[in-house]
């Protein structure tokens, strides 16, 4: 394992994917990663094999009509809207045909260097409606993580070397720019932080327009590209990804361990 870890470091830095992609199906995780030694918030894309860590300004997560649901009458879910109102919910549990975004602190270098936990903060949201992120556990009482109607910044802690999924909700169609930052104290006593914009598109429209929307934060400086090793891959079987060309990053395979996939069939 040690040798593998060393190899992982050796193949880093990863090349950022140059071409924008839209992901509307499969597993992805938001998380910090050391890119060229620099703490960077990226998106780990497990729809490729091996996984690809993407710069946030090259990727859009799309909640298509498959993610559309009606707000239930249960008072516990009133924060989502009026009962019966149609909203987009990207669920905590994977559903076939809907992107499954989680967040993790499992990049090997991150997991080794971070002291206890990463602070994930939402610094602002721009979009046509309300964004919320909440968790659901045993008895269905929702636990809010973020809510764009509340004052910013909003914070949550992510224990080091963990991987979590939640429910991402959007109540109007269009582009949402989530201004996110991840901050941590490292075991050597220093602190690291990075702030980026996550692009999400709710609806069946052209999600690529989300990338054309100006980014509200000036801090999201793209990491300079090193010459990437380009790879030609087959068209994705599910046909969900719009962009068919991308650069394969050789690393990241080690952290595949806790990646989850869809449950196809349920108990009758």
């Amino acid at each position: 394992m040690k040798l593998l870890a060393a190899l992982l470091l050796a193949v880093a830095p990863l090349a950022p994917t140059a071409e924008p992609v839209v992901i509307s199906n499969g597993h992805v995780d938001l998380g910090p990663k050391f890119v060229d030694g620099r703490w960077t918030v990226q998106l780990r894309d497990d729809t490729t094999d091996p996984a690809t860590w993407r710069d946030l300004d090259t990727v859009v997560l799309q909640a298509t009509s498959k993610a559309k649901i009606a707000v239930p009458a249960d008072p516990a879910y009133q924060f989502l809207g009026k009962p019966g109102q149609s909203i987009w919910v990207i669920p905590q549990v994977q559903q076939d045909g809907i992107v499954w975004p989680g967040w993790n602190t499992q990049d090997t270098e991150v997991a080794t260097k971070v002291d206890r936990e990463v602070t994930w903060s939402l610094e602002g949201v721009r979009g046509p409606g309300t964004f919320t992120l909440f968790l659901n556990s045993d008895f269905g009482k929702p636990q809010p993580v973020f809510d764009s109607r509340k004052p910013f910044p909003q914070q949550t802690g992510v224990d080091v070397n963990t991987h979590v999924h939640g429910n991402w909700t959007f109540d109007a169609q269009g582009t949402y720019l989530l201004d996110v930052a991840m901050t941590a104290k490292l075991t050597d006593g220093s602190s690291v932080t990075d702030r980026r914009t996550l692009h999400v598109y709710a609806g069946d429209g052209d999600a690529r327009t989300a990338l054309a929307t100006p980014t509200p934060t000036p801090t999201a400086t793209p990491v300079p590209a090193t010459a990437p090793a380009a790879a030609d891959t087959d068209s994705d079987a599910e046909g969900q990804r719009i962009e068919l060309w991308w650069f394969i990053a050789g690393a990241g395979v080690l952290v595949l361990a806790t990646t989850g996939f869809v449950v196809l069939r349920r108990r009758a």
């Binding site: 394992m1 040690k2 870890a5 649901i69 239930p72 249960d74 516990a76 879910y77 919910v89 669920p91 905590q92 549990v93 994977q94 090997t108 997991a111 080794t112 206890r116 936990e117 602070t119 968790l135 659901n136 556990s137 045993d138 008895f139 269905g140 009482k141 929702p142 636990q143 914070q155 949550t156 802690g157 224990d159 080091v160 070397n161 963990t162 979590v164 999924h165 939640g166 429910n167 901050t183 104290k185 006593g189 602190s191 079987a237 361990a257 806790t258 990646t259 989850g260 996939f261 869809v262 449950v263 196809l264 069939r265 349920r266 108990r267 009758a268």
Partner: protein
């Protein structure tokens, strides 16, 4: 972040401050919040230092309200030490921060001691989430069995024995439960689920009664050719509400007890084996894979919950009745950014405090450098002996009896350093009132574990009434442990820790 800045500021003060002592008796005047901290400072300072605490003997630091006299004492102090991290109430911390002289170091020990090697543990907010995170998984490619990415694997619950029922279910986004395995209506074809290769999912695992359960899982491969190819089966053992160390796995051999972290009950497509696949405990270490027959899964009394009054969950039993349940998601287990403040219950952490105190005193009184260094050296070796004493004493207690039930959550470090288990407490923080639910849970915990003793803290007499009542009802011995303060029997840190070790051995180590 705020904490990091505060710690940095403290270090700046340490290095930047060299004004000399100026108290009336010529000694360095050190004020601490608690008696434990004052004792540690006195050991380091010896004759050159007068160390006193703001919280009076026997007082509870969690709820102590500062007086105007305290503000004056702080203003006159050459050095102040707080533990911080929510041990002391905000009003006490504010009094110190507002009144401490500008050139007097004001050190928050718990946070700054990390750079001296203190081991800190995050504060557990929801003890019910501080349990094993258990899921289902398929591993391997199954190539030699003809599996492709469109194949799927069926995992079926084929046999369950135990004192009650098991329901493994998933709660979906809007609170809708989806049952995977449910023994309440017997186990049949419907008690199965299908996962693609290399998949995993999390579930709630609910048990209706405490005791030992055996669950057999059977895996089959579906290559879309109309027939199921049998893989293997395995039988897992669950210790529900009972001490897992007292339970034998199916193999009858040595058990691998799984009680924390993330584990999936797994079928391996290549070997056909059914096993428990766990995340590495340490970063960089290998994940572990233990055959089902060697596994004992700990479903502790921390996992007791009341069934909600919600018809969607009526399959679990009557609303309000208690079940043991490992939850499908464990985020929210820790309070973001908060650390358990009771560091000194691990002697190694007291050593870190002492070294930080030494350097702080030297910064304020450089002439005393040699004395402080010599005193510290002597005291550190005393603490090494103490650590060894606590360790060897507690090691004599059989593993299945190392259960701590206390008045408040002050013994996480003791448990972590000396291999004890925090089985329960009345309330997390003594400033809180216990709810009916908490008292019931405590009661069930004592009954299910058949613990020989529970532990009160001398300074928390009022809080102890609940625990003493519950213990009397069940005929369980009531013993005492020092948490945050001394009393007239224990006047030093070393006395207090020796008492704790002796008392634990006396009350837990002997006959049940």
């Amino acid at each position: 972040m705020r904490r990091a800045i505060a710690a940095a500021l403290t270090l700046t003060l340490l290095t930047g401050c060299t004004s000399t002592a100026a108290s009336s008796d010529g000694k360095l005047n050190v004020v601490t919040t608690t008696e434990i901290l004052a004792d540690l400072v006195q050991q380091v300072g010896g004759e050159r230092v007068t160390a006193t605490s703001l919280v009076p003997p026997g007082g509870d630091p969690h709820s102590y309200e500062p007086t105007p006299a305290d503000a004056k004492r702080v203003a006159k102090a050459d050095v102040t030490f707080t533990n911080h991290l929510l041990l002391e109430p905000q009003s006490l911390i504010k009094t110190i921060d507002a009144n401490a002289a500008k050139d007097a170091p004001n050190v928050s020990l718990a946070e700054a001691a990390e750079s001296y090697g203190a081991h800190v543990i995050p504060l557990v907010e929801n003890i019910g989430l501080d349990v094993l995170w258990l899921g289902l998984r398929v591993r391997g490619t199954g190539k030699q069995r003809g599996a492709t990415r469109t194949s799927s694997v069926q995992l079926a619950a084929t046999k369950l024995d135990g004192p009650g029922q098991l329901v493994a279910y998933l709660t979906e986004s809007l609170g809708q439960p989806d049952r995977y395995f449910d023994s309440t209506d017997g186990l049949d074809k419907s008690d199965s689920t299908t996962l693609p290769p290399a998949a995993h999912t999390h579930l709630n695992w609910a048990f209706t009664k405490p005791g030992v359960y055996h669950l057999t899982l059977t895996g089959s491969l579906d290559n879309n050719d109309g027939k199921l190819q049998p893989l293997g089966e395995g039988t897992f053992t669950f210790a529900v509400g009972v001490d897992p160390h007292s339970v034998k796995p199916v193999s009858g051999g040595k058990a691998t007890v799984l009680g924390e972290g993330h584990t999936d009950l797994t079928v391996d497509l290549d070997s056909g084996q059914v096993n428990a696949f766990s995340d590495a405990k340490k970063v960089g270490a290998a994940q572990s894979q233990v055959p089902a027959a060697d596994v004992v899964i700990d479903v502790p009394n921390k996992a007791l919950v009341a069934i909600p009054d919600d018809p969607r969950f009526s399959f679990l039993g009557k609303a309000g009745s208690q079940i043991h349940q490992l939850p499908q998601a464990v985020l929210g287990k820790h309070v973001h950014g908060e650390i358990d403040p009771h560091l000194w219950e691990d002697v190694a952490n007291a050593k870190a405090y002492v070294q930080l105190m030494r350097d702080t005193l030297i910064s304020q009184d450089p002439d005393g450098k040699q004395t402080y260094e010599a005193n510290t050296k002597t005291y550190l070796s005393k603490l090494d002996e103490l650590d060894e004493y606590v360790r060897t004493t507690l090691a004599t207690i059989p593993a299945d009896r190392r259960q701590l039930i206390t008045t408040h959550d002050a013994f996480g470090y003791l448990a972590s350093a000396y291999e004890m288990t925090v089985a329960g407490f009345v309330v997390p923080n003594p400033a809180q009132e216990p709810s009916v639910e908490q008292v019931r849970k405590l009661s069930d915990t004592i009954r299910n574990l058949r613990v020989p003793a529970v532990f009160t803290e001398p300074n928390l007499a009022q809080r102890a009434s609940v625990l003493i009542q519950v213990a009397r009802d069940q005929g369980v011995q009531v013993c005492s442990l020092y948490g945050d303060t001394f009393d007239d029997k224990a006047r030093t840190y070393v006395d207090m820790m020796r008492h704790n070790a002796d008392e634990l051995k006396r009350c837990l180590g002997d006959h049940r």
